[in-house]
Symmetry: C2
Amino acid sequence: MVFDPQDNIFMLAGPVKIHPRVLQAMAVPSIGHRSPEFSKVNEDIKNLTKYLFQTKNDVIVLSGSGTAGMDAAMSNLLKKKDKALAIDNGKFGERMGQLAKLYGDATIIKADWGKCPDIGKIEETLSQGDIKVLAMTHNETSTGFTNPAEEIARLCKKYDTIMVMDGITSVGGIDVPVDKWGIDICITGSQKCIAAPAGLALMSISQKALNAMYDDTSYYLNIKKHVKKLRDDNQTPYTPAVPLHLALREALTMVKEEGLQNRIKRIKNIAEACRAAVEAMGLEILPEKKYASNTVTAIKYPPGIEDKDIRGVLKKQYGIVIAGSQAPHKGEFFRIGHMGNVQIRELIPTIAALEVAFNKAGFKIKNGAGVAAIEDYM
Amino acid sequence: MVFDPQDNIFMLAGPVKIHPRVLQAMAVPSIGHRSPEFSKVNEDIKNLTKYLFQTKNDVIVLSGSGTAGMDAAMSNLLKKKDKALAIDNGKFGERMGQLAKLYGDATIIKADWGKCPDIGKIEETLSQGDIKVLAMTHNETSTGFTNPAEEIARLCKKYDTIMVMDGITSVGGIDVPVDKWGIDICITGSQKCIAAPAGLALMSISQKALNAMYDDTSYYLNIKKHVKKLRDDNQTPYTPAVPLHLALREALTMVKEEGLQNRIKRIKNIAEACRAAVEAMGLEILPEKKYASNTVTAIKYPPGIEDKDIRGVLKKQYGIVIAGSQAPHKGEFFRIGHMGNVQIRELIPTIAALEVAFNKAGFKIKNGAGVAAIEDYM
C-alpha cells in the first residue's frame, strides 16, 4: 500500500494525532492578535495552562518549539559567570547541557541512555552552594526514561538552586505538580501530551526565577517581557502564531474536560499494557524498569534485526507510524509514543503489526502473544 | 451588530485574510516532521521562497514571528565588539535599533515617523569603514513608509557592510530583488504579503553573511544550523510548526500561480486607488508622498477626530477591520492594509464606511467622493 499521511495510526513520541475539534479550531480566518477577541484567547490559554501545570506561578506561551522554551529559560537566567548544572542521560538532557554550556559556566552530570543519573553526585555538586541553575529533562523522549524529578526538585530547594525542567513529554501525561514539587521553570511543547499541533512552548515561571533573570540577554525569547504583557493585557510582546494558539486553547479545553488526573491515569494504563505486551513478545525495554516512561516506550532491537524491517514494514504495509532511535544510538531501538489522545484501540494493531514484522524479520514471536497480554491487562 | 471574527472585511497591516485553500492545507492530521513527507514540504517551501525573494542565496524558515527572524539575523552577526548601524524611522526600525544595541556596538540614525532618513549621514557613517552590519526596515508598517532600500543597499556594497533588511511587509507586495540589490539578509513574515497565517519568519542569507556569523551566540535561532539542515536534508534543526509550514507551502504556491510581478502590480493598483480615495476625501497620508507604501496606507486623523469614532464604528457597525497607530503616536492616524490577497472589491466598502464614520464624527466628506475616485482609477 501507499502510505497515507492523512489516514494512519500515529504512534510517534510527538507529534501526536490531533483531534478534529482542534483542527477545526485552528482553521479559521485571521483575527488581529491585538484585538480583544485574541486577548480572550490568551486569557483562556493562561488559565488552562495554570491548570495543566498545577501552578499559581506565571505562565507564558512562546511561538516556537519546546527547544525555544528551553533556550528562553537558559538564556534569560545565565551569563558566562553563572554556574549551571545540567543532567544529561539522553538526547534532550544533552540539549540542556549544550544550552548550559552556551550561556553559562556549566557542569554536566552524564549517565548512559536509559540509566539514572547519580543523585549523590548531583547533591554533591549542588552542595557547593554556588550553582544558580539546575537544568534537566523530566521525561527523556529519546529513551523512554522518566527522571526522578521530585527528588531532584527537593535537592534544588535544599540548596537554593533554580530548577529548570523540560517537561515536554511529561506535562499532561505524567503527574507534574509544579507548585508542590517547587519547579521554578517548567516547559512543555504543544505537540506532545496535550495533543495540539507543533509550534508552541508553554512555560511556568516562579517569582524566584523571574527575579533572577537578566534584561539584556535575549529579545524574541525574553521571558520577563512575555510575563508582563500577559499579566497586564493578556497579550504577547511580539506577533504570536495565531492559529496554533486557537488550536492550543481547544486542546487544553479537552484536557480539562477529560480531567488532568484522568488523563494521566489513561496514559499510565496504556503504558502498562504496552510494557506487558513487549514482555510477552520476548522483547526488552531500554530503560531500567522502575524508570520506564508512561508516555513513550523504548524497545531494544534483538541482535540482527534491522530498523527498516520493522518500522519500514509497519509504515509501508500497515500504515502504522512509530519512532526510531536518534543518533548516536540510531537503529538500536524503536519507540512507541502513547501520549495525548491515544487509546488502547490504537495500541492493539500496533502490537499485532509488530509481531508480524518481527516474525518476517526472523525474530520469532508467537502470533497474538503481545495482543493477548494487552487483553489480559484490559 | 456584533462583530463576527470569522466573517468581516479584514484590512489590517498584517495579519491579512487567509484563503480557504491555505486554511484547508493547514488543518490536516499530524505528520512526523522527520518523515520524507515533511522533507518534501520543506523542499517545496525552499524553492518557492527563493522565487519569492528573487534569490539564489540560501533561504530558511524559522518557527517564530518576523521579530524572531530579525533577532536571529542580529544575534548571529553581532557581538558587543561589532559596530552596527540601524535606521529608525518607525516602530520596526526602532526594533532593529534595539536589537543592534542589545547585541552589538550600535549607532542609530533616526528620522521622524513618515520622514526619510538622512542618506548622507548613512553614507558618512558607513564610510568610517568599520560598520559590520547595517540594519533597516524596508517597508515601515507602522507609518506606511517605504525606505529607499536599493539606494542604501548600494552604499552597503560600496563600504562592504552586511545589509540586514526587514522586508516583513514588503517582500511579495513590493519589488524586492534580493540578489540584484545585494541584500545579505532579507526577512519576511508569513502573515503579511504572502497571506499565510502568522508564526513563521522566512529569510534569505548570503554566503557573505553566513561567513560573518558566530557559532556561539544563539541556539534556537542559530541560522547556520538551519541553513545546514535544509541544505543537507530538507529538514530543520528543531521541531518546526508543522501546520504553519503546510499553510505556507500553499500560500507560496498561490503567489507563484499569480506570478510575483503580477501580484506586486495588483498591490500597487490597490494602493494607488486607496491614495486617490484618501485625497478625494480631503484626508492626508502620513508619509512624504514619494515614499508612500504600496502595502499599507497610513492616514492622519484631522484635528478633533478620535480613533474610536472611526475604527470603532467600522468594526462594530460595519464589520470592517482596519489598523490604528502604535505608541508613541497612538490615536494620531489609522492604517489600511492592502497586501496579500486583498482586492479592490474590499477597498471599496472600506472607503465608503470611512466616509460615513468621518461624517458622523463631524468631519464632512461628500458622500461617495472616495469611492468615485476609486472608480475613476479603475
